[in-house]
Symmetry: C2
Subunit: 320 residues, 2 copies
């Protein structure tokens, strides 16, 4: 068996790096949720994390861990989502320049927030052009690339949420997290199984973007070409670092329909009073449909973020 590229010790070190910088996010429980789930459910609320998503953890850990000889080089990354904000804020806090390549469509909330953290945005039309632009930036500015998930330091940072989770709720039996590139789920797996090898870990994925399920099954990176899901954070393929970690750790997958994503978001807003983004709802949905493997169990759900565009709602409200 090959050695893990990330270990529990790496996640524990990341937790030290993030101490006093990342937020120790609250764990929310709800009588109504437990009744709906027929389980004892704990929500680790990374929607309350800085930048509104867990991505700050990995980005900050990665940038803070760069070797001294890279200290004066700017940071560059490709992300239209929460990783962009994570890298922007982490770079700003660490006194580094950040270049973010975004391809359209771009969530205006995430663009605005990224600019607010003083990053430079390079806006392009599609994925291919984005990769080309990133290569040019890395060359032109001698930049350091911080990949959104396929990076052991990023993975170690994301795993710190699970360390906090188990330190508050040590007897979790099952953990659910959504899967996009697999960074969060990799860090979560390493942290959870490092502390308790018997915890069952499930990946939650929209049926409109089932690349991770097929990748894990076929042991090769199945590309995500035409994702059809509102969970924009999950429209990514796995990487060569995350795939083997997931194969080693996952108990299984729960696939989730688009209607279930909206229903779970609505449950969260209306009943739990928590603003969550569609990707988070993907991990909440299996609980709400009372998946057999979850009923009666102590289930931890990683609520990954809360960056969702509510313009329609507030414009209607202001007009009335």
């Amino acid at each position: 068996m090959p050695e893990e590229p990330v270990t529990l010790a790496d996640v524990q070190r990341a937790a030290q790096v993030l101490g006093g910088v990342a937020r120790t996010t609250p764990i929310v429980t709800s009588r109504q949720l437990d009744e709906a789930a027929r389980a004892t459910v704990f929500l680790k609320c990374e929607n309350f994390q800085r930048v509104g998503a867990f991505k700050f953890r990995g980005a900050y850990n990665a940038i803070a861990s760069l070797p001294p000889e890279q200290r004066d080089r700017p940071i560059a990354t490709l992300s239209s989502g929460n990783h962009a904000q994570g890298v922007a804020l982490a770079s700003h806090l660490l006194g580094r320049q950040a270049h973010i390549v975004m391809h359209r469509p771009i969530n205006p909330l995430k663009r605005q927030a990224t600019l607010g953290y003083h990053a430079t945005i390079h806006e392009v039309t599609d994925r291919e052009e984005a990769e080309q632009t990133l290569r040019e930036l890395l060359q032109q500015f001698n930049g350091v690339h911080i990949h959104a998930f396929n990076d052991p330091r990023v993975i170690a940072g994301q795993g710190t949420a699970m360390l906090e989770f188990l330190s508050s709720v040590p007897d979790l039996e099952v953990v659910l997290a959504p899967v996009g590139g697999g960074g969060l789920l990799s860090g979560t797996s390493i942290a959870a199984h490092g502390l308790n090898p018997s915890i069952r870990i499930y990946a939650c994925e929209p049926t409109g973007a089932l690349d991770a399920l097929h990748s894990v099954r076929e042991n090769r990176i199945v590309p995500m070409n035409t994702p059809r899901t509102i969970a924009e954070g999950l429209r990514t393929s796995l990487g060569d670092v995350t795939l083997p970690i997931l194969r080693r750790h996952l108990t299984g997958f729960f696939t989730v329909e688009e209607e279930e994503i909206v229903t779970a978001m609505r449950f969260s807003f209306e009943r739990l009073k928590l603003v969550i983004e569609p990707s988070s709802a993907v991990a909440l949905a299996p609980v709400l449909r009372q998946e057999a493997a979850l009923v009666g169990k102590r289930v931890g759900v990683l609520i990954t973020g809360g960056n969702v565009d509510l313009s329609v709602y507030f414009e209607t409200l202001a007009a009335n």
Copy 2:
């Protein structure tokens, strides 16, 4: 000086009655909020309370405190809002029948929730008909009336949120709460000043429904005839129990424009990831506009509830 109709001891007794039944709601802080407010702000999040609002506290305390000879009589009240849900759930938990008179317009979310707690709803067209229907119900069923705010047992129950608040953050300097009928603000005042007479307490009221401000100023109940505010919970006049309490305790009023209510709600949803209703936003708005009396202070804001109709948003989301 006349004796207080509700004392700190009453609030403390209510806290015992509510122990293990009401939720000890979390207190949320946020770096972003503090920066926007130029103050240290603590949000007591009653949107996480059972029924999604503080009203459960007062309703439960009032019904649980009824004398034994009233044990078999049904409960009746007039409310189209959160008090309806509070009375419905409290009655259900205490094994009592509940009759709720609602006049239109009725928030469908609140109607549905009230029915979900097994109450009987009597729907009528306006306030006048509602009062007539309530009188008939009280007579027909020999019912016990639980007023939404003008009742010392209800006021004592609402005050328990402030007890919890000060037990977690004992050095609050200023407290903000919205004012409708004044039940929450009365209980809050009695609890806060009972523990620390130097705390400054401000009532927050929409400019489209300034009856409480005028009532306190003129020392008479100025009726609220044509409220023009989206803060539906605040479209009520004070009562003869609450008015003298507010006159005795309030440091002052902050009046809030409708646009500020929407802006504060949006700040809460988008930045804090908290679903709050317009009434709660009325108490958040003065903090966000950096009121001179709040800057630099340790400010507690009572987030009263999170029952808001999000149908427009979720219908748009589901259609895309």
